[in-house]
Amino acid sequence: MKIETEEILIADLQSETNRDIAFRELISLYKERLYWHIRKIVLSHDDADDVLQNTFIKIFRNIDGFKGESKLYSWMYRIATNEAITFIHNKAKHSQVTSEKIQQIAINNLEADVYFEGDEIQFKLQKAIATLPQKQQLVFNMKYFDDHTYEQLSDILETSVGALKSSYHIAVKKITAYLTEN
């Protein structure tokens, strides 16, 4: 999105009169990108739908506080990421297990999920990703599937480019090893 267009959209979102129309436009613009970003974290469609709706509601509630220190899409990605991770943590707390266990359960449920249509290698790749620490999972998914640049990732995840490169290479190494061994 062009900077001028983004500024107009933000101004509309923060105004009393144009807010609803602007918010509908915002959802239309970002719904798919944010959905797939969330889906890669929580894996199931139903959970992704819950988190996506919560993300947009949170965006709506907090748009007045958006000060343009980062790009709008980085800010929204950050909210979506936080919402997805919080969702997993809450689920883990509710089930009295660890977040890693919740992710393992989600992976094990994939094969029976009607909204999963992967072949064996795709399933293995998802299993390999699930073995990574959460931050490496995020970096790998956003770099490998979404082709984000390191600069964009740095803005979204508020981490240095050097640290992100290191995380990504470690993730690639682990996933390659997993795929080779299995």
Partner: protein, 171 residues
């Protein structure tokens, strides 16, 4: 190509330590992954899912708008924060009031240390448990004695609402 010759030209550029020792391995890993790991996501969505999303999200917005902009004090983190300190004070008074053994001087503990202790989650008590520990009278007294101005509370809540930063552990 002789790498040393390139470096000896004093171009001013340097590489991270051991960069050339691992570059082959990293490129080969990337190639292996691209060969074996498909870039297409294996997930499907229900038919028409995205077409109805705007309406479903916006349907939830009016109820949010109708909410008065009064933030319930009893549900805020501020309450938990203040109430936790109050609970510690009450527990201390209850446990050590009648004993002559001066294990430590509670007043010597800095308030910031207590705040840090609470914020780090070392005290894991539910709201219900918290309520059962605190009498309303004692709580009011403690809240009043904290002398928090309205501006400070407002700033604190505003910062909470703006706080969307990631809090991820580095791995």
């Amino acid at each position: 190509m002789n790498k040393k010759n390139i470096h000896s030209k004093n171009s001013g550029f340097t590489t991270p330590q051991n960069y050339f020792d691992t570059v082959e391995e990293r490129i080969l890993q990337e190639i292996t992954l691209k060969k074996n790991g498909p870039k297409v996501l294996p997930f499907r969505i229900p038919n028409g899912y995205f077409e109805t999303l705007e309406d479903r999200v916006l349907a939830k917005i009016p109820s949010i708008k109708k909410e008065p902009k009064i933030i319930s004090f009893i549900h805020t983190k501020t309450f938990k924060y203040v109430a936790s300190i109050a609970a510690i004070i009450i527990l201390y008074v209850t446990l050590f009031k009648d004993t002559s053994i001066g294990m430590f001087d509670f007043n010597a503990i800095d308030q910031s240390q207590i705040s840090y202790y609470v914020e780090q989650g070392y005290i894991d008590i539910s709201d219900t448990e918290l309520e059962s520990l605190i009498s309303e009278k004692a709580l009011n007294n403690n809240l009043l004695s904290l002398d928090i101005s309205k501006d400070e509370i407002f700033d604190y809540l505003s910062n909470l609402l703006d706080d969307n930063t990631l809090n991820l552990e580095d791995h």
